[in-house]
């Protein structure tokens, strides 16, 4: 595929995107692509430039340098076409509080050029799925934070966007709202919606994202899948195994790929550079000696740890 084709195919294609506020460089010439159909996490500590990047990509803010395209449409030069294909869930719930949930949704329908009958059908479906149908005619000012956030999601989805931007969508929400929102995001993604998720919730990113970018001080530190990021920060990985009957750690130490083995209670704790080879060796050993494997698990660093290591915050 040529570079031009890739530009058209990518959901987001950002090149040297830059934004400054007075003397402060909020986003420092970042480049990345988000492929169609993936959930892309944008992680970073507070003030790293996540929201500014999202605002530039959604056309809310003009970049000072570089460019960004949404499905091939430049966000500065063809903003209407680019925005038409996106839905946006900003960090702060921003529905109109003086009108009802239904009126907010109908307003979105009109602003995105959705035919009225279709907008009404879609609004009913979304409000039902998000547990708001009973409150559809009530003014939003009486809604809880979770309800407002669910409404904002419904408003962003009314026109069936191909790309959904979410800025801290579950920040400060109750368990029910968080569960509803993350469940809906998974379903949307299964149905082909590309998702750009800005968050500092590592667990959320770990569970939802295909790839994550870590941004710090306006620069992208790394982009990879959550699993690879976690693996990349530790040279040695830990495997815990428990055999019945129990065996000595010395039985395993000579196997290829295993760096060390020790007994801790009823289990053996093994360190290795190559998880795959070590697990194969352990299972072969068990089979050859007629041992029952009661427990086998790999302990890898969490995304939290990877994040802290990559942003240098763990050494602070």
């Amino acid at each position: 595929m040529s570079e031009a084709d890739s530009y058209q195919e990518d959901a987001i294609h950002a090149t040297d995107l830059r934004k400054t506020f007075s003397d402060i460089v909020a986003v420092d010439s970042i480049s990345f692509t988000v492929r169609r159909g993936e959930i892309f996490g944008f992680l970073g500590p507070n003030g790293a430039g996540k929201t500014t990047t999202a605002r530039m990509l959604t056309g809310v803010m003009q970049p000072d340098g570089g460019s960004a395209a949404i499905f091939g449409h430049d966000i500065v030069h063809a903003p209407v076409r680019a925005k038409q294909r996106c839905g946006v869930v900003p960090e702060t719930a921003n529905a109109y509080t003086d009108i009802s949930a239904w009126q907010n949704l109908m307003l979105m329908g009109e602003l995105y050029g959705v035919p009225k009958h279709y907008a009404e059908e879609r609004a009913k479906t979304l409000l039902t799925a998000l547990g708001l149908i009973e409150r559809k005619d009530q003014k939003v000012q009486g809604f809880s934070k979770g309800m407002k956030q669910r409404l904002i999601l419904a408003m962003a989805l009314l026109h069936k966007p191909e790309l959904l931007f979410l800025d801290e969508p579950t920040s400060g929400l109750d368990v029910q709202s968080t569960h509803l929102i993350t469940g809906m995001l998974r379903e949307l993604n299964r149905n082909g919606t590309t998702i750009f998720l800005t968050t500092h919730n590592m667990e959320e990113a770990n569970r939802l994202c295909d790839r994550v970018a870590i941004i710090q001080k306006g620069r992208i530190v790394t982009i990879d899948s959550p699993e690879r990021l976690k693996m990349a920060i530790e040279r040695l990985h830990t495997i815990e195994v428990s055999f019945d009957p129990a065996r000595s750690a010395d039985d395993l130490i000579t196997f290829p790929g295993i760096e060390s083995a020790r007994r801790e209670g009823d289990k053996l704790v093994i360190t290795t550079e190559d998880v795959d080879s070590a697990i194969h060796a352990i299972t072969t050993f068990g089979r050859e000696h007629n041992l029952k494997i009661e427990m086998l698990r790999t302990l890898s660093p969490t995304l939290d740890e990877a994040f802290l290591r990559l942003t240098g915050a763990d050494s602070a």
């Binding site: 056309g59 809310v60 076409r81 925005k83 921003n94 109109y96 009108i99 307003l107 050029g113």
Partner: protein, 251 residues
């Protein structure tokens, strides 16, 4: 569907208009303020000048009403929206800045035209019937458009505090009332006042209202309409350009 087409953007501008009317205009205090402010100014002036003819007073009341109502809410919509974070939602929608401004302006325009009926009805009730009703209607429409554009222009400073814009707006609006022939005909103003009057769009609408209600005018009608049209275009273009420049600083 081409979202960039003029028709599609016009439909979306109308959606913004409906939203503005529902949220900002269709409220008792706004309607009452739009009527009471000019009415009290009118009564204060009328009581102090009891020998002035009723058509003169009513044409002044009509000019003030259109001016005050068209500029009552439009300057503070964007600071309000920025404060409530709804401006970010609007900007993220597939609408241009022209569409956004047109939507806000049209709401203000409809409000001004609607409220203008009240002083005309008061006039009819006290026996002052416009001599040229169609010309007066055209004048009201053009003036409402012009003053709505002025209202939007007043909201361009990048602040999210509506009271800051209200203060700026009042600083401009009240002096304009006194130099635009509303209370004193332009010919009777001192030379400096007459120069200032020429710079005020309200002068031209007051003159149209006075001609249509009592048959006298200071400037030729064509000059009045042309001046209002020129002011309208300048205000609207400036509002679009300046809002595009300052909007990201509000977010």
């Amino acid at each position: 569907m081409n979202p960039e087409s003029i028709i599609e953007q016009a439909k979306r501008a109308f959606a913004i208009t409906k939203k503005d009317i529902r949220i900002y205009y269709a409220k008792g205090p706004v309607v009452i303020f739009g009527l009471f402010m000019p009415l009290f100014l009118f009564l204060a002036f009328a009581l102090g000048n009891r020998n002035l003819p009723m058509p003169f007073l009513l044409s002044g009341l009509l000019a003030m009403t259109v001016f005050f109502t068209a500029t009552a809410v439009s300057p503070v919509i964007q600071p309000w929206e920025a404060q409530a974070r709804t401006l970010e939602r609007l900007i993220a929608c597939p609408v241009t800045m022209k569409t956004l401004i047109a939507g806000d302006m049209f709401a203000s325009f409809l409000f001004a035209v609607g409220i203008a009926i009240v002083p005309i009805m008061i006039g009819v009730l006290v026996g002052v019937v416009p001599l040229y009703p169609l010309l007066l209607a055209a004048g009201i429409i053009l003036a409402s458009f012009c003053f709505s554009a002025l209202g939007l222009l007043l909201s361009t400073p990048a602040t999210n505090v509506p009271s800051n814009i209200m203060m700026l707006s009042s600083l401009l609006k009240f002096p304009l009332i006194f130099i635009s022939g509303v209370f004193i005909p332009v010919e009777q103003l001192p030379f400096a006042g007459q120069v200032l009057a020429i710079c005020s769009p309200l002068t031209y609408f007051t003159d149209i209202a006075r001609y249509c209600i009592m048959g006298t005018n200071s400037f030729p009608l064509s000059v009045n309409f042309a001046a209002l049209a020129v002011f309208s275009i300048i205000f609207a273009l400036l509002a679009i350009r300046l809002h595009a420049r300052t909007v990201s600083r509000r977010i």
